[in-house]
Symmetry: C2
Subunit: 351 residues, 2 copies
Amino acid sequence: MPKSTINLKQLSQHLGLSQTTVSRALNGFPEVNENTRQKVLAAAAQFNYRPSPSASSLATGKTRIIGHVVPISEHKMINPHFADFLAGASEAYSAAGYDLLLRTATPKQEEEIYREFASRNRVDGVVVHGPLIDEPRIEVLKSIRLPFIVHGRTTMNGDDYSWLDVDNATSFRRLTQHLIDLGHKRIALVNGLETMNFAHRRLQGYREAMETNQLEMIPKLISSADMNEPYGYNATLRMLDCDTPPSAILYSSILSAMGGMRATGERGLRVPQDISLATFDDELSFLQTGDGQPREPFFTGMHSSIQEAGKKLGQMLINQISNPASNAETCLWESKLIVGKTTGPRPRENS
Amino acid sequence: MPKSTINLKQLSQHLGLSQTTVSRALNGFPEVNENTRQKVLAAAAQFNYRPSPSASSLATGKTRIIGHVVPISEHKMINPHFADFLAGASEAYSAAGYDLLLRTATPKQEEEIYREFASRNRVDGVVVHGPLIDEPRIEVLKSIRLPFIVHGRTTMNGDDYSWLDVDNATSFRRLTQHLIDLGHKRIALVNGLETMNFAHRRLQGYREAMETNQLEMIPKLISSADMNEPYGYNATLRMLDCDTPPSAILYSSILSAMGGMRATGERGLRVPQDISLATFDDELSFLQTGDGQPREPFFTGMHSSIQEAGKKLGQMLINQISNPASNAETCLWESKLIVGKTTGPRPRENS
DNA sequence: TTGTAGGCGTTATCAT
DNA sequence: ATGATAACGCCTACAA
């Protein structure tokens, strides 16, 4: 039964070596005798020695912690997409010996938190969530020299920072085109907040497809708000009840698509016979079967795993931190169209 | 423009005081001259001084970090209930100057992570998620002396630890009774994994209500698995298609209830005219309107905010950490029945 | 290849 | 009420 905590000093005394040598052996320095290293490693394992993170941080100036400030609205709304993103990021961190520090904050508090992170040396870097079209956080982070990476990207802040984004414009161009190919003309868009860069680009892709096919964009059939289930429900009801109801609706999130499904059900519409629904699908894990079988998705949509995105972003940020001289790295992911059970040809009676 | 990082030494030199005095002033020691304290506070604010967490941890042995090891299945499934729970906990931590460290792990890895936390002094305490009926983690945590609190509770591990739980048995007794009062007889239960304590107790509550009313429990109408949307969908379809279909179904989670809704829709059943659905509702934020308005919930169900639970548990754990001599504190929350649009009287034609 | 010694930024123990 | 000084546990020049 090894005693709870042994430190470097005790371990080195036990071995009859200096702390320096033990430390070097443990940290894989090349100069230590292979023989010595083996002894050290064995003793460390035997006594269950683990270096103290506080002491290492103090000595090296590195925390091996990545900060995530996840936005939470005033009404305590937290987007469940983050759960999957964080799970993916966490996987990357664990593999590299990093930890994840989580803060929730309103947008107003976020800048102050970054400043605190920097001045207290609380974390080695941060992941920026939910970038706007024009994103003030980027300048703040640059000015305080806190390494960061953006999940998504911006439109107005140049390209001098690291990001990973899905190709939102192409995704929505293709998804819209898919519906147009099925004969739909009045296609609605239930989008995220248009100040958010991803929503902006999705609208753009939708517009391109509509214009290319010379279809009219009807303002009543385009809505924009924070994505959640009730919003999808309400926006859908409003559109169904207006004087130009759509024969197909695009959603920016599967959460609002689920709300849309509920709304169409309530109006007695069958999907896809009476109306088609399609969505961007982040492959949230609670909607997967969980048995590892790739199932035929229920919703037709563009797919991209947000969990994989989290993992990749985590790796990119850690690379950047371990290699500070490197240039900004960017990554654009295409998404994949998967046809599910919620889209079909435009019904005859619909305009 | 204050320089990025100033430390205690620099600050004290600037003030012409010793580090000791400055530290004491900052940490609210009573003996320092009120005059001096004001000067120190002013200078600290001016130079944006913040103590280094690594240094404080090293000196005090306290990290002011709470660890959360959230379970993730082999198929990378992460339960979105955690997002809301963590948001609540995070709020409590921020208020008390604590931070949240997140790890994802399979159940097998969890014990090792706790040991690592303890031996590296990585965190001051942990929150245990998803307790089983008989929970080995509790003994591990006790033996390594890592302060902890359980979200939920166990059945087999005595009462010598802190926990907060909702009264699951009572919740499901009441919810079942509500359906019985509406005339339902064949009532199904789509439960969580029965090795989990909460699911065990919910089954118990359901059984009590059924037995009290001398209603038969039909094995085909009781199912148990990890709660997610596809599971709710599949379990519901199976029940609807069997030779003794239910007139009402109870769900242990709103996620599976949503799957149930999808399944009934697919079978052409109207809710609540043809079938009633009811659920335990953790008030997940992505299903709330987000405008702060209390809305009439869609599903009938027993309500208890998991975000509030996170907040309360966070506070309880911090109390326990700051006051190590205190006894284990436990807390049992009742949930509230809210009648939504998904339950109604048993249809005539149904047995 | 190994060791010595100083420092990382706090807090805490004793003095004064 | 304030100050020296020694930890806390690790890393890393510099020396040998």
